[in-house]
């Protein structure tokens, strides 16, 4: 099953970064790379923020812009079905499951990040993908949450990008 890359992976694929070999392999073999729409949002939001508006940041934003437009890149949409499943999951799991263990960010930021993770999982699930992530614990919880809602559907595969 092809994987969509969550933000923890997709944000580290430029040359010299941790997951650069992954991107290089896809480009070499002509295999599409799938990015959930909320991941694209997170990348652009992070690099377009006025607080980090320096030339290297703009260059990196342009690099990602080209990647998003590359014929091999598939932006997995947050469409009707993804929105429905995300709503159901958020209604049942409004809190980040690991909030007591997270030491970075305010509670509001952690809740926003959790909502994005839910949307990413929903995009991947509805789009027919698994998820490749460094944040395996949270996405396994999301896989379980979706499986409880839809026990008859093929479950969301969660792959650890750190392996």
């Amino acid at each position: 099953m092809p994987d969509a890359w969550d933000t923890s992976v997709a944000s580290r694929i430029a040359v010299g970064e941790r997951h650069a070999p992954l991107l290089a392999t896809h480009l070499r073999d002509g295999v599409p790379l799938a990015l959930p729409a909320p991941t694209v949002q997170e990348i652009v939001r992070g690099l377009a923020a006025p607080a980090v508006n320096r030339e290297p940041t703009r260059r990196k934003l342009r690099w990602f812009g080209r990647l998003f437009r590359d014929p091999l890149t598939i932006v997995v949409p947050f469409d009707r079905r993804a929105a429905v499943i995300a709503g159901h999951v958020l209604a049942r799991h409004p809190h980040p499951p690991t909030r007591n263990h997270r030491c970075s960010g305010t509670r509001a930021q952690q809740r926003a990040a959790w909502a994005l993770d839910v949307q990413i999982a929903a995009c991947a699930f509805a789009g027919g993908y698994g998820v490749l992530t460094e944040n395996v614990d949270d996405f396994r919880i999301l896989r379980q949450a979706i499986a409880e809602l839809l026990p008859d559907a093929p479950p969301l595969a969660v792959s650890d990008a750190q392996l």
Binding site: R81, V84, G128, L150, A153
Partner: protein
């Protein structure tokens, strides 16, 4: 006058395709595709037959990828569409306008205890 020197180089031969197992076939390659195949073969130092097979693998892999994703999305999508097909007793009544607003916008309006709602 000295006779022209003969080249000691071996005559150039077209690269040979690697041996593959499978059924042999004959097919007509459209001109525009043949140009691409020839360019690929030259770029990668291989035969046009091998180039054609390699490019076919690229297309087949892409097709397999899309087929897998579409099949899975269709199966999961059908399950998502069944989510709201639940039996509701007819005497349950409807939400009032105020209840509906509270349910949907309560998060934005700060109407919920954040420990309960997660707001």
């Amino acid at each position: 006058m000295a006779p022209p020197r003969r080249s000691t180089r071996k005559p150039r031969t077209a690269p040979r395709a690697p041996r593959r197992v499978g059924a042999r076939t004959t097919l007509r390659v459209p001109d525009d595709l043949a140009e691409t195949v020839a360019r690929y073969a030259e770029q990668h130092g291989t035969s046009t037959n091998d180039a054609l097979i390699r490019l076919a693998y690229v297309g087949a892999n892409r097709y397999d990828y899309e087929y897998t994703v579409e099949e899975l999305a269709a199966e999961r999508g059908a399950a998502i569409d069944r989510l709201d097909e639940v039996d509701i007793p007819p005497d349950e009544g409807d939400l009032t306008a105020e209840e509906t607003t509270r349910a949907i916008l309560g998060f934005r309006l700060g109407l919920y205890d954040e420990e309960i709602y997660g707001a």
